[in-house]
């Protein structure tokens, strides 16, 4: 609750800052505030605000840990934004909208009432629609915003319908009551329909096959920094919220539901990976890779009782790898018209450090030890096999194998192609974010225990 308040306050600060012409200070202050908040949240030292809001917001270790992760990601991405928005007059709008988005995200993992969840997801979504379409003169950005908006609203409608059905079955939006209803034998069947519809809505948000079509197009059309938000932050948030929803609504899931999740997981991994193989746009590659990672993340639902930590670990490693990758991608494509792989040609010669960061990020996503991506997959496999889904594990590793191909395409471009471009200095933000993310990837890999027992 306090985290939420603090973040909304920060958002408002950003808006106000413009009025007082503190534009330059917006990002540094926000980042510092977010980092402070991160520390306070994760160590549980946030001063208490009077009043009892526990019926709307719950503060569990799950919500705290994930909130911290989101705050950290936002902070990193905001540092990246600094360079992007340096010369625009709308900086306060952009930053505040991102911070509000963060507040939506936090609402999504710490809700104790479906209303809060719904508002949270809408804040997140609407902010993303706006951001996706924020290059108002670029038709591709408009198109991305429009596509995302149309499909997202549709999905919201379905989600909402599902919430209504839950309400119909139980007469309440209160999470504990819903949980009681979900494990009670004589809950009305509407409840189950509601769960399915909510599931579909959330599958859309995490871009799982077959609800994934929007993702590549929107990722490609959106401005790079927004794509970074969508592919790292938003995906992780959606997945965490989905996970929380399922723990509340369907923790003893029926066999048929498990099958559905299983099939979607397999489809997402496979189709995501296969589609990524032949893409030329790095954003699209990352989009499809994100789809396949959504498939991996979905595996956590199959052994939901023991998976929260694995989910956290996977989310963190995936998101950090994404942040690292995007820091390099933005760096590389800053002055380019597109984001083709060709832009990476010869990066290793032009800027070895950036190339190494990108390589680490991609290797982590591919699941190569000792980077955290490997352990993330390992823990998932462990969990999936212990739940008895050996087939899924095998599909997962076959997919890991395929994924190596396209991740390495980028690496190959960096290391083997000759560059035609001159190196231009773009500022230190990229280095900071890239190095921090890459180091975190390695540290998390070397010491998985650091975050593996937070929940």
């Amino acid at each position: 609750m306090n985290t939420l308040i603090a973040i909304v306050g920060l958002g408002v600060f950003c808006l106000v800052a413009e009025i007082f012409n503190f534009r330059k200070a917006i990002i540094p202050v926000s980042v510092i505030a977010l980092l402070a908040l991160f520390g306070l949240t994760i160590t549980d030292n946030l001063p208490q605000v009077a009043g009892d809001y526990s019926n709307m917001i719950e503060e569990t270790s799950f919500s705290k840990t994930f909130s911290s992760l989101f705050i950290l990601l936002t902070a990193l991405l905001l540092v990246l934004s600094n360079n992007v928005y340096k010369n625009t007059s709308k900086i306060s709008d952009f930053i505040s909208i991102k911070i509000f988005m963060l507040s939506g995200a936090i609402a999504m993992v710490s809700f104790n009432n479906m209303a809060m969840f719904f508002l949270g997801i809408e804040v997140l979504s609407i902010a993303l629609y706006v951001l996706a379409g924020s290059h108002r003169l670029d038709i591709r950005s408009n198109e991305a915003g429009m596509k995302y908006f149309l499909m997202g609203s549709f999905a919201s409608g379905i989600l909402l319908f599902g919430i209504a059905m839950l309400y119909g079955a139980t007469g309440t939006f209160d999470v504990p009551t819903l949980y009681d209803a979900s494990i009670s034998a004589n809950t009305e069947y509407w409840f189950y329909i509601g769960v399915i519809l909510i599931t579909i809505g959330m599958l859309f948000k995490i871009a799982a096959v077959p609800f994934h079509f929007w993702a590549p197009d929107v990722y490609e059309g959106a401005p790079l920094i927004v794509t970074a938000f969508m592919s790292t932050f938003a995906k992780v948030v959606a997945m965490a919220a989905f996970f929380k929803l399922i723990t509340i609504l369907n923790s003893y899931m029926a066999y048929s539901y498990e099958i559905v999740i299983l099939v979607i997981s397999i489809l997402s991994m496979t189709i995501g990976n296969i589609m990524a193989l032949r893409q030329n746009s790095v954003k699209r590659i990352l989009a499809f890779s994100g789809i396949s990672h959504a498939g991996f993340l979905l595996m956590t639902l199959l052994n939901i009782g023991a998976a929260a930590n694995n989910l956290l670990y996977y989310s963190a490693s995936y998101a950090l790898a994404g942040v690292a990758a995007f820091s390099v991608l933005i760096y590389v494509c800053k002055n380019e018209d597109d984001d083709k792989i060709d832009n990476f040609n010869g990066l290793a010669k032009r800027n070895p450090l950036m190339a190494v960061i990108m390589s680490l990020a991609l290797l982590s996503m591919a699941g190569i030890p000792i980077l955290s991506g490997f352990f993330a997959k390992l823990f998932l496999l462990n969990q999936v096999i212990s739940a008895g889904f050996l087939v899924l594990a095998i599909v997962a590793i076959v997919n890991s194998m395929i994924s190596v191909y396209y991740y390495f395409r980028v690496i190959l471009a960096m290391y083997t192609k000759d560059s035609v471009k001159q190196e231009v200095e773009h500022g230190s933000e990229f280095y900071i974010v890239g190095i921090v993310a890459a180091v975190l990837l390695i540290v998390l890999g070397l010491f998985p225990d650091t975050i593996l027992h937070l929940i």
Binding site: I368, N382, I394, I397, S400, M401, L412, Y415, D449, L452
Partner: protein, 477 residues
């Protein structure tokens, strides 16, 4: 003292080499490798005096994973191979002028670190991590400093990477499954695990896939020749000299003891495959135009024999296989270095462009000849002891295997001598071929001396490895 010092040394050495800059990289790398070798010898000394060098601490709480390194004769022997070959390999790199030396030497050291870790790890996951970790540096070494057209190289090496990576993932699944059963991946608990026959069969196959690709056994070998020929000599040496042995070692350490009954059940088939590989590799060499490819296929043939020794499930087979691993490591490194020396002089690996070298470079020709002879297992060379033992073990299994596998001594002699004849003999070549330099000569000399020394006196090695091999065999039975 525990054995992790060697690992730390290598890792720190890699970092240090990288930050030392291009000017000093090669020297520092050599220094580090020699130091690690000395440490290994020291560790060996301690081990022989009964010291416990293993090291174990918890790494991940849940799932329960230990950072656990164990030392026995077998792993020490493999560690010796790694750290012993490393200075030679690095020294051989001195001959070539690399672009960005700090990077390649630190990658080499890093790879040695990972390989040494593979040989020492006593926890399944730790082992797997090292196993995979070794892939990354060799990928970059081969990619960035390799030879041949970039397009082809890229594809060949990527195939290699995906192929071996994919194979090992099945091993990962096997490990995860084992973890579910045992609650720990420590090697003792895995050994102690009671599994059903079916489980063992599947686990065996999963391990086999990983190892068969890495070793490689036919028909999983298609990555090998291309990768060897595309990688720079230093990478090829690492690959063929040490990395192949990772697969073979793992068969012994992990696969056979854990999946004992399945191993027995599959033994004849796998022996068949391995021995078929012996002949297939040998036959293929006859049509190779590229010296490195030829050596790659000869390596295929040899490791087939080693694998056959391992899967014979006899103590003789194990002993022979380990001996042959060591000797093959030495000799193949030497042979690849020879090919590199020719390449440095004449910028070609094509056999038909060679010939007539012997009259120009006597010392070089002699070293080459000795390596060729060692490779065809002349008695008094190290390889003979290994090959003899393996064939003997195969005879213990079935005389047919021994005879068919034994054709390697005929075919091996055929292709190696043919290769020697085509590359070295004949009318003096019109191109000038300078004899070996001091560095080159030193590397070759060390190899040759070792080959003869252990050929005549393999006893210390046999005594070092036999107890641990006997343990493994007891575990299997």
């Amino acid at each position: 003292m525990n054995i992790s010092i060697v690992l730390i040394l290598l890792l720190a050495g890699a970092a240090f080499t990288f930050f030392a800059g291009n000017k000093f990289a090669s020297k520092i790398a050599l220094l580090v490798s020699v130091a690690s070798f000395v440490f290994t010898l020291y560790a060996l000394n301690l081990y022989l005096n009964g010291a416990d060098l293993s090291c174990k601490s918890i790494w991940i709480q849940n799932p329960k994973i230990y950072f656990s390194l164990a030392v026995d004769g077998l792993s020490l022997a493999m560690l010796l191979l790694t750290t012993g070959l490393l200075p030679l390999i690095i020294l051989s790199g001195w001959v070539t002028k690399f672009e960005n030396e700090k990077a390649i030497y630190s990658l080499v050291l890093f790879m040695a670190f990972a390989m040494a870790g593979t040989f020492l790890a006593a926890d399944g996951l730790l082992y797997y991590v090292f196993w995979e970790l070794a892939l990354i540096p060799i990928y970059f070494i081969a990619l960035l400093w390799g030879n041949g057209s970039l397009e082809e190289r890229k594809n060949a090496i990527l195939k290699f990477f995906i192929y071996t990576f994919g194979g090992s993932l099945f091993m990962l699944v096997a490990f995860v499954y084992l973890y579910q059963k045992a609650g720990s991946l420590e090697i003792e608990s895995l050994y102690a695990l009671a599994l059903t026959e079916t489980e063992k069969t599947w686990l065996f196959l999963a391990f086999f896939l990983a190892y068969a690709i890495k070793i490689p056994l036919i028909p999983f070998h298609t990555w090998q020749a291309n990768t060897y020929s595309k990688a720079p000599a230093i990478g090829t040496m690492l690959l063929s000299g040490i990395m192949l042995k990772m697969g073979l070692y793992s068969v012994l350490r992990w696969q056979l003891p854990i999946t004992d009954t399945a191993a027995k059940e599959f033994m004849p088939y796998i022996l068949g495959v391995s021995i078929a590989g012996v002949i297939y590799g040998a036959v293929l060499t006859l049509r190779q135009k590229n010296l490195k490819k030829l050596l790659a296929y000869s390596s295929l043939s040899h490791v087939g024999l080693i694998a056959a020794g391992l899967y014979s499930l006899t103590i003789e087979g194990f002993q022979g296989a380990v001996l042959q691993m060591l000797s093959h490591g030495l000799v193949i490194v030497g042979l690849f270095f020879v090919s590199e020396i020719i390449f440095n002089r004449w910028n070609t690996y094509t056999i038909s462009e060679m010939g007539g070298i012997r009259s120009q470079a006597t010392k070089f020709a002699s070293f080459f000849m000795i390596l060729v002879l060692a490779s065809v297992a002349m008695p008094t060379t190290f390889n003979f002891v290994g090959e003899f033992t393996i064939l003997y073990s195969l005879y213990n299994v079935n005389i047919g295997f021994a005879i068919v596998a034994g054709t390697t001594i005929i075919l091996g002699a055929f292709y190696m001598l043919r290769m020697y004849q085509q590359t070295m003999l004949g009318e003096t070549n019109t191109k000038v071929f300078a004899d070996v330099t001091i560095v080159e000569g030193l590397v070759l000399l060390v190899i040759v001396v070792l080959v003869f020394f252990f050929g005549l006196y393999p006893k210390p090695i046999i005594e070092l490895i036999t107890p641990s091999l006997q343990n493994i065999l007891n575990q299997i039975n």
